[in-house]
Amino acid sequence: MNNFENIYQDNYPKMFGVALKMTDDRDAVCDIIQDVFISFYQKLENGNEIKQAKSWLMRATINKCIDHSKRAKKYTKIEAIDPIPTQESELDKQESLLIKTALSKLKSNERTLALLYSEGLSYKEISEITGIKLSSVGKTLSRTLKKLDKILKTMNHEMFE
């Protein structure tokens, strides 16, 4: 289980980063990652072999975030109905919101690709997680970044002028 602890410590920040870009709720992100690690732990305990632990964890995180987003669309949180923003947090939120809005305009697989790329994953890891052929990652990524760049420029925010 020492190996598990290492995997946990190594992968938690990246999983957190990807999940946070897909989900607004930090508490939900913590729960999602905890759930993923519990599933992973149980698989190991039951003697199941997971060859690509990093890819497995990231894939599971993305899937759980997608599930969470679907559920979140059904139920609106009470605090989301009547927010009381402060000026300072509003500015930070605007930047974050702009990126999230731009990312949301991408197709699901493109968004996943962009998020994984932003976390500094290698093409091999991206290929394992997304199922895109290793030889096609570069091409797909190039197109996705071009599209994202165009979307952000179209949104015409002062930050990107």
């Binding site: 598990f4 602890e5 946990y8 410590q9 938690y12 920040p13 957190f16 980063g17 946070l20 870009k21 913590c30 905890q34 690690f37 519990i38 732990y41 149980q42 305990e45 930070d92 930047e95 974050s96 990126i99 999230k100 990312l103 962009a114 998020l115 790329y117 932003s118 500094g120 290698s122 093409y123 990652v137 570069g138 091409k139 990524l141 190039s142 197109r143 970044l145 071009k146 994202l148 760049d149 952000l152 990107f160």
Partner: protein, 145 residues
């Protein structure tokens, strides 16, 4: 060499080209101002997009201590409980089957004794005989013909 396309430039920027490809790209951009410019532009775009995507607040990530034990234990208990429920249900079904089963009726009349009342007239058919045959079964049931 033909000018570089976006795909190969992207792979080059990300350091994912093979040694041979890497050399080809380097050699080409040394001699092609247009492609060298394109590489710089796409490199800047990649860095900028990564930076923007990482502006989403990731500060203060506290890695909590992982403790799967209570949940694993709870799941195990759930499995055990399922088996207990299944066994209990099976017992109830068996008991109900045993208790509610109708006792099988004994169609063969066992008799312990019989009496013949009246006389048998040999000149009359059996249906017109005046005599009575009384059969007393083992459990005391009386059947008269």
């Amino acid at each position: 060499m033909k000018c570089l396309n976006d795909e190969i430039i992207q792979i080059y920027i990300d350091g994912e080209t093979s040694a041979e490809e890497n050399l080809q790209v380097k050699t080409h951009i040394e001699s092609c101002q247009s492609c060298a410019q394109k590489v710089e532009t796409l490199k800047a775009r990649s860095i900028q997009l990564k930076t923007w995507m990482n502006t989403i607040d990731k500060t203060d990530i506290e890695i909590p201590v992982f403790s799967p034990s209570p949940i694993v234990q709870r799941k195990r208990n759930t499995t055990l409980r399922k088996w207990v429920y299944a066994a209990s249900a099976a017992c109830i079904v068996i008991l109900l089957t045993l208790f509610l089963q109708k006792p099988k009726e004994n169609t063969n009349l066992m008799y312990s004794s019989y009496e013949v009342a009246g006389e048998f007239n040999a000149n009359l058919p059996l249906s017109e005989q005046e005599m009575e045959i009384v059969i007393i079964s083992e459990d005391g049931k009386i059947v008269t013909f």
